[in-house]
Symmetry: C2
Subunit: 312 residues, 2 copies
């Protein structure tokens, strides 16, 4: 269920394109008008508006939009206007800065279904003329490379079938490698990058049943290093994307320096999917509504835009 | 161009199904009749015959066929009757014996295009209820695992664009790692498992230009071990599948113990694709026709079946 509201009846794409052209007109931009259109249309509508705009005004809609707005607001709108698949490809590409943002790569590869990930990789090929695998491999080395390249490459089986015997064997394998110092990465990477999500959930459950501690907690306790922290993100993204994102929102919204990129990413990628559920989880957990928390930490058009996506 | 002949006009699927039913009838099987139908129909026809047979006689065609014939002949027909994608999935699964047949896994992953490999992996999921990645990973370890899991997982970019500067850098990287003893596998695996085929061909060409020796030859000279031999198969499958298969046929057909599985695999997988080209290459190279060589080394219905696929 989408977390944002769409007016009923929704204006035609041509009407919306005209409103946006008017908002762009002259010196300065009417950002409120931009938000009132774009933050209240679903992906299909946004696509149609873009098409109608380009047919009517013979100019590239996205380039014009980028020239009209700026800063965090621009970056958020730029992510939002694309379809989910295109957006994920753009976000994955943005992970390759001076240092790779491995969290983004793990989210892309572990939260999407196998066929969604495939579609993202196809969009990545079309857009950047090379593969996501190449970019991940050439920005990493050692265990991080093995883990991240494995995660983005794999085409997991997507069925529900679970092999309980094998889950028990591999829960034990994971426990054994986690108890070694340093952690023995090879088998952990093999299991996490090749098994189906249903099988992995069975493994994680078996782990908790046997050892009275979740694998994520055990990793945290035994290994304070960054590689173990990446493994924990994998486990959490596969176990429960919603709990993962809800916690990420809590962390982002309570740090003294706001990480706008992460906040934007969670809101724009989930607004059309399950942000509504996370809002409820967030408020239950913190006694503050997500809307209120975002409102406290952000400002300007960026704030108005995020709130428009969160409020329904 | 197919290497086998299809009669014109081709009988209807119902006529063919009736001929096969007649061939199966009573004690013993008329193998000649089976060959005269199945070895002279393309994939679409074979599919239609199977359907017509099952509609007419309410029995599973493939099971019946398997019960009627045996040995190498059965195994060859069993591979042949499927579509190319299904067949590749079945062949990949057959690679996991007591020891993994890594050559088969390299062929599947490096000779198919990225989208063909994807289709094979989808057929593998549907047929075996788990992924090819899982099977490869759990049958291998160490460098072999990294290489083979990387090859089957990756979704390579399939465009023609080549980055010449990068090709030069990575040709040098490959040369450096090959000159180390033991060979430094990590960068070799990264390059071979992630770059596009067009880019890899540019890298191999650059390697030869710079060092006056092909990378395949250099690997052979510097490293007499099995891992280097696997890397050479990767290089050769990507550089030229036809030269690779033609040489494999030469090796198989001159060894004292015939490897029927490999011979069958090359003939049935290429008969509908490029076997005609390999036949010409083979005869040019050996002064013996492929038909004659197969005829000398095989016997019985197996021989008749292979010859029917090779002769046009």
């Amino acid at each position: 269920m989408a977390s944002f509201s769409v007016p009923s009846p929704v204006p035609s794409p041509v009407e919306d394109a005209e409103s946006l052209k008017k908002a762009f007109h002259g010196w300065g931009t009417d950002e409120k008008a931009v938000i009132s259109v774009l933050a209240h249309r679903d992906a299909a509508h946004r696509q149609q508006i873009q098409q109608a705009y380009e047919d009517l005004y013979k100019e590239n809609f996205i380039k014009r939009l980028e020239s009209e707005i700026s800063g965090d607001f621009e970056r958020a709108v730029y992510r939002w206007i694309f379809s989910s698949v295109e957006r994920e490809a753009i976000i994955a590409k943005s992970a390759f800065g001076k240092v790779i943002n491995y969290r983004v790569i793990i989210e892309t590869s572990c939260i999407n279904s196998p066929n969604e990930l495939l579609a993202v990789k196809q969009a990545y090929h079309a857009r950047y003329k090379h593969s996501l695998e190449e970019d991940v491999a050439s920005h990493t080395s050692g265990d991080f490379r093995k883990l991240l390249v494995g995660l983005v490459s794999t085409y997991r089986y997507d069925g529900d079938e679970v092999d309980a015997r094998l889950a028990a064997v591999e829960a034990k394998t994971l426990h054994d490698v986690i108890k070694r110092k340093p952690l023995e990465s090879e088998e952990a990477i093999r299991i996490l990058t090749t098994r189906s999500k249903a099988q992995l959930k069975a493994i994680f459950n078996k782990y908790k049943d046997e050892h009275k501690i979740s694998i994520s907690k055990d990793l945290e306790t035994e290994h304070p290093d960054e590689f173990a922290s990446a493994l924990r993100i994998v486990v959490r993204c596969i176990s429960s994307p919603q709990r993962y994102f809800e916690k990420l929102l809590r962390v982002v919204l309570t740090k003294s320096n706001l990480d706008e990129d992460t906040l934007t990413r969670v809101i724009v990628t989930r607004a059309e999917k399950d942000l509504q559920v996370m809002k409820e989880m967030y408020e239950k957990r913190t006694n503050v509504s997500l809307e209120k928390a975002i409102s406290n930490e952000t400002s300007g058009h960026y704030k108005s835009f995020l709130l428009a996506l969160v409020r329904n």
